[in-house]
């Protein structure tokens, strides 16, 4: 009964945005559930049958992603190439709406069939169990990417009563996540959006401040959502995996990817990088594997060449880091390492955020002084918010590192934070990762 409620509530939540895409998610769920069951039952039979079911399931999910997310990019790229050669439109341009959360739930689903194929998990007890897993509303639209293996045991031993400790943790994660979003990320959003909307970004100082603002906005927005998802999951009696571990404290780029959007980076590692051969083969092959993984990781974020270049940029950084580590060209100062890593990540965010490749180049040129020195933003309040955000990101313990105590002072503080967040909700903006 509880699974039926979770599923219905999740479908209602999803359908509230656009009910027309609900059948798509139900179709994906059904196909993967059947494929998972078939892979399991064919375990003792012909391995080809198992492989065929796996390939069928993966192809279905990738086809969904390819059509809904990447068809537009494909069509515009082909048509641009064709028009530059003097031909007209080759591929019809369709006005396709991107179903919200499709990147997340297809990845959730793919990990399910792959893990059954690998013998890591058993198929879900019923279609209802599996539907509840795929549609689970806390993480449905912006992650974290939860694998069935993460919650299989929890699903099968779900308690009827929510304990006060888990309820407290739910409150803690949800309130901290909401306040990260509303009290930090949204305070930084307006000047950042204005800067990235400028046709001609002016000044080195302005550009660095704006990109720093975006770096903080993105982190607090996305990690805030992840914390809220963890909190909501606690209210349902489930524990989601950690998705952020103070990424801006990373001392190198590989460390950054162990701390940023952990559920995606580990997904790419386990289902793409390692199957490609990981780092067990030659250096050239490892370089190629890293590049392919990060290329696809970039493409996962959005159907745009800026995301592809952003992914490749991180691929190159990882290759450089691996080479430097092998030759022991590393610095002994953790602070310096953190600064270098953070600056490299910031430069990447320009590609990630800019509307076009040309726009990103203009901002990068401004950051390197092509448009003059510029000046600090006129708003002292904004600078205070930014300084506060930086202090929290660089020095404070993250949500998972703070050990919640059953003290009343904690309860009052969380109530105060929630009140402040509720009051500021009126001007809140959508979560940045909803677009992926």
């Amino acid at each position: 009964m509880r699974f039926a409620w979770i599923t219905l509530a999740s479908y209602f939540f999803y359908g509230w945005w656009n009910w027309r895409f609900l059948p798509l998610m139900i179709a994906s769920t059904t196909v993967d559930y059947i494929a998972g069951a078939k892979i399991k039952t064919a375990e003792t039979e012909n391995p080809r049958t198992r492989r065929a079911w796996l390939v069928g399931s993966l192809s279905f999910n990738l086809a969904l992603l390819a059509f809904f997310k990447y068809y537009g990019l494909f069509a515009s790229t082909i048509n641009q190439a064709s028009s530059s050669l003097g031909s007209g439109t080759v591929v019809p341009v369709l006005n396709i709406i991107l179903p919200i959360g499709i990147s997340f739930y297809t990845f959730n689903s793919m990990s399910y069939t792959i893990d059954i194929y690998r013998g890591l998990v058993r198929p879900a007890r019923s279609l209802l169990h599996y539907s509840a897993f795929v549609a689970l509303f806390p993480h449905l639209i912006a992650g974290p990417i939860v694998r069935y293996s993460d919650i299989e045991t929890q699903f099968n031993s779900l308690k009827n009563r929510l304990g006060s400790h888990q309820a407290s943790l739910g409150i803690y994660f949800f309130v901290i996540g909401l306040s990260k979003k509303v009290l930090i990320a949204d305070r930084l959003a307006r000047p950042v959006n204005e800067f990235f909307a400028l046709a001609h970004p002016a000044g080195l100082v302005n550009s660095w401040i704006a990109v720093l603002g975006y770096s903080m906005q993105l982190y607090f927005d996305f990690s805030g959502y992840s914390d809220m998802a963890v909190g909501l999951a606690h209210f349902l009696g489930l524990q989601f995996p950690q998705n952020f571990n103070s990424p801006y404290k990373a001392e190198n780029i590989a460390d950054f990817w162990r701390r940023w959007h952990i559920s995606l980076s580990t997904w790419l590692r386990d289902y793409l990088f390692i199957p490609l051969g990981g780092s067990r083969r030659s250096k050239t092959r490892t370089t190629l594997n890293l590049t392919i993984t990060m290329f696809l990781g970039g493409l996962w974020h959005g159907a745009g060449w800026t995301f592809v270049v952003w992914g490749l940029y991180h691929g190159v950084l990882l290759v450089i880091h691996a080479a430097a580590r092998e030759r022991r060209w590393t610095l002994n100062s953790p602070t310096l390492n953190r600064i270098i890593t953070f600056v490299a990540v910031m430069l990447g965010w320009v590609l990630f955020r800019a509307e076009s490749f040309g726009g990103a180049m203009k901002i990068l040129a401004a950051m390197f002084g092509r448009t003059g020195l510029g000046a600090l933003p006129d708003s002292p309040l904004y600078m205070c918010w930014l300084a506060w955000a930086c202090a929290v990101a660089f020095f404070a313990r993250n949500t998972w590192e703070v050990e919640l105590q059953p003290r009343l002072a904690y309860a009052w503080s969380l109530a105060g934070l929630l009140l402040a967040s509720v009051l500021m909700l009126g001007g809140a903006s959508p979560f940045l990762y909803f677009q992926f």
Binding site: Q166, A167, R190, D378, P406
Partner: protein, 348 residues
């Protein structure tokens, strides 16, 4: 990190305390906002409404205006300091400033019909100041018109059925709480009569701003930047002129003429730096569309239209702006000189 869950009862007080303090705090905020009721959204009238341009307040003043006004000034906060006495000097008609905050053409229409049909006023002149933003195609009517009020029967589309919910959630917003605290501060410190205040003829005095300007404490550059940052998202969403709002303007003029009133329209001024700052957000296109559309309606209804969007259009300097879109009132004398050059001969 895998968490372990303790079933110890030591967590029960934590949950109870959190829930109780949260509910108490929310209730306190809601009670504060309901009782103070800074802009007249709720029934409470314990504290006088202090925020200027409240529709309810203007209706009360209009109903009790003595002598009955012969000229009505309609528009947004940008014309609320147009002195009715100056208009009277220019036209010879007793005037009332019915400007309200964030006014759009539906406000002009319902206010005029209310004045004529409910208050039985017979204005001989209607002066309408329109803003470029007044024809926004995605902004809903002011929240006052989204709930049943004295004015809403005159709207073509009746209020949003979710107005009760919107009214309820407004109790828990930062803006409402800040307004309540500001109002409360003004009342408790005796500043209520010294800051924004509205005369019986509807003229609003911005004494706070005036004092800041006189003391040199008002940073115009900061105000202009603030205006740009507030308006930029509105312009991003302002993709075309609202047909319905243009129809409301036409209907206002038609109704005025049927009631025997003459009409004049002017486009309110905007600081050149704000215009420049909003260029990337489509300001120039929207402004050109508004001028063309209002000119067309004016021609059809034989209403004089004046484009005063830039001070140079009426011979003004740009030094009288208080922020990006409001000014100290000096411009109105120049505008009136352009609009009523013959000292109301035609109207008289």
């Amino acid at each position: 990190m895998k968490l372990t869950f303790s079933d110890a009862s030591e967590w029960n007080p934590f949950v109870r305390t959190f829930l109780c303090s949260m509910l108490c705090a929310l209730a306190a905020v809601a009670v504060l906002n309901y009782v103070v009721n800074p802009d007249g959204t709720y029934r409470s009238r314990v504290v006088p409404q202090l925020l200027w341009g409240a529709r309810g307040q203007k209706l009360s003043l209009l109903a009790t205006a003595n002598p009955a006004p012969q000229a009505l000034i309609l528009g947004s906060s940008r014309i609320m300091n147009l002195a009715p006495t100056d208009l009277q000097k220019a036209t010879g008609l007793v005037a009332f400033n019915a400007g309200v905050d964030v006014a759009r053409p539906e406000d002009f229409y319902v206010l005029l019909r209310y004045a004529v049909e409910r208050l039985h006023l017979h204005p001989r002149l209607i002066v309408i100041g329109v803003d470029v933003e007044a024809f926004h195609n995605h902004e809903p009517p002011h929240y006052y018109l989204q709930q049943p009020t004295e004015l809403t029967p005159y709207l073509w589309t009746q209020p949003n059925p979710h107005w009760r919910w919107a009214k309820f959630t407004k109790l828990f917003t930062y803006d409402e709480t800040r307004s309540s605290l500001t109002a409360l501060y003004k009342v408790t410190t005796g500043h209520a009569d010294q800051l924004e205040r509205t005369d019986s003829d509807g003229l609003t005095h911005c004494d706070g701003w005036s004092r800041q300007m006189a003391d040199g404490n008002r940073e115009l550059g900061e105000s202009i930047r603030d205006t740009i940052s507030r308006f930029a998202p509105r312009y991003d969403d302002y993709t075309a002129l609202s047909r319905e709002r243009l129809d409301y303007l036409r209907a206002t003029l038609d109704f005025a003429h049927q009631s025997g009133s003459q009409t004049v329209i002017f486009l309110t001024p905007t600081h050149p730096l704000v215009e420049a700052g909003l260029q990337p957000h489509g300001y120039a296109s929207r402004k050109a569309e508004v001028i063309a559309a209002v000119q067309s309606i004016s021609d059809q209804t034989k209403t004089p239209f004046y484009d005063f969007s830039s001070p140079r259009e009426f011979g003004g300097e740009i030094t009288h702006f208080i922020d990006g879109v409001h000014h100290d009132g000096t411009y109105f004398e120049l505008m009136e000189a352009r609009m009523f050059p013959a000292r109301a001969r035609a109207i008289q």
